[in-house]
């Protein structure tokens, strides 16, 4: 195997230079004592955090631009005149049609995502111990929770789109149910748009994460990481996965609680 053409090792006659310095960081020092891949994942996540922060800041700005509903929560009715109260919009649960269960389903989704984060970190921990079976087991659990979250979000979306029974009375006398990008029964147009964009962008991240996890699971099963001698790839995907959980923590607070 020829290494002379690809290496940047200095042409010294030093005897202690037994092997060419052909690693990613050819300067010899690892910045921040982190591997190239992990460092780049951190900086990618930083840029992704900017995108999500821009979305949530937009939400905050538009919400503050719209009037707040004043009056008793019991008498609340959907209207484009003010911003809706989240627990009046998100109060449905699969299989409990017509029952008012405010925020119950989103609580379940939050728990699913926290669980998936735990199984992910267990997979990373198993990787440190070079325990192939445990890595496989925890990756599979993470994929399962991730896919369940995606399914829940699909249900949440379809319910949001088809709408509540009450609907909203339009000025021409017809009733409008549900939501699309130009109209929604819950409140101002931008409420629906921000729901689709923010939860949609987050859901896309979860979907990419599940794809990466499936790939990592196949690679683990094939023994790719075992042969490589480390499970750093699982660690990097883990960073991404925790970030997605982190974003949900903020989406949950600003979209469903505040």
């Amino acid at each position: 195997m020829s290494t002379s053409s690809s290496t940047l090792a200095p042409t010294t006659n030093s005897v202690e230079l037994e092997q060419p310095r052909s690693g990613t960081w050819d300067g010899g020092n690892e910045p921040f004592k982190a591997s190239y891949g992990k460092l780049m994942m951190w900086f990618f996540l930083l840029s992704d955090a900017f995108t999500f922060a821009a979305f949530l800041t937009t939400y905050g700005m538009i919400r503050h631009r719209n009037p707040v509903y004043v009056g008793d929560v019991e008498n609340f009715e959907f209207s484009t005149a003010y911003w809706p109260i989240p627990e009046k919009v998100f109060n449905a649960f699969p299989g409990f049609h017509g029952v008012d269960l405010p925020l119950a389903f989103v609580a379940l989704m939050t728990m699913i995502l926290i669980f998936s984060s735990v199984t992910m970190v267990l997979a990373v921990e198993a990787g440190h111990r070079m325990d192939k079976n445990d890595v496989q087991k925890w990756l599979l659990w993470t994929i399962l929770f991730g896919a369940t979250f995606l399914g829940s979000q699909a249900w949440e979306w379809s319910h949001f789109i088809s709408g509540h029974e009450e609907g909203t009375l339009l000025s021409d006398g017809t009733m409008f149910h549900g939501a699309n990008l130009t109209m929604n029964q819950y409140g101002p147009v931008l409420f629906g748009d921000l729901f689709f964009f923010i939860t949609g962008f987050h859901g896309t991240h979860v979907f990419s994460g599940v794809c990466l996890l499936v790939w990592a699971f196949i690679a683990t099963t094939n023994g790719t990481f075992e042969k490589r001698g480390h499970y750093e790839m699982v660690e990097k995907i883990g960073l991404y996965w925790h970030f997605v959980d982190l974003v949900w923590v903020f989406v949950f607070t600003f979209f469903y609680l505040v």
Binding site: M1, Q19, S22, G23, T24, P31, F32, K33, A34, L39, W42, L46, A49, F50, A53, A54, L56, T57, T58, G60, M61, I62, R63, H64, R65, N66, P67, I85, E87, P102, L103, A107, T110, M111, I114, S117, V118, M120, V121, L122, E125, A126, R129, M130, D131, D134, R228, G229, G238, L239, H242, F243, D245, L246, V249, F250, T253, L257, V258
Partner: protein
């Protein structure tokens, strides 16, 4: 590649016992904070104070996820700061635009009510 000199040791090696105590501790902290958030959602009327409590609890949760699950607490200081400083700038963006939004809202209401 960097690992082509690595010695293959395929003989039966001991797999160390898992050390997962800290993971479950972090899990219970996250579940606990989320439970508190739900209790507040149903017992406290909506107010600026309630929203402030939510934001503080959210930052707590974010801290545990980033520090423990993403392991940032155990990285070098340089890496910690290079992530935290840019994120801190986002707080300024949030405050500036939310203020701007409130102002625009007031302006719109006055324009159409008079």
């Amino acid at each position: 590649m960097a690992h082509h000199v690595e010695v293959q040791h395929n003989e039966i090696r001991e797999i160390p016992k898992p050390n997962t105590g800290w993971i479950w501790k972090t899990f219970w902290v996250l579940v606990g904070i989320t439970a508190v958030e739900f209790v507040i959602a149903f017992t406290m009327p909506s107010s600026t104070l309630r929203n402030s409590i939510y934001i503080v609890l959210t930052i707590f949760k974010a801290f545990f996820i980033v520090a423990e699950f993403m392991h940032l607490k155990h990285e070098t200081k340089g890496l910690i700061w290079s992530i935290l400083i840019p994120v801190a700038l986002l707080i300024w963006l949030l405050v500036a635009l939310v203020t701007e939004g409130s102002y625009a809202g007031e302006l719109l209401q006055h324009t159409f009510s008079s």
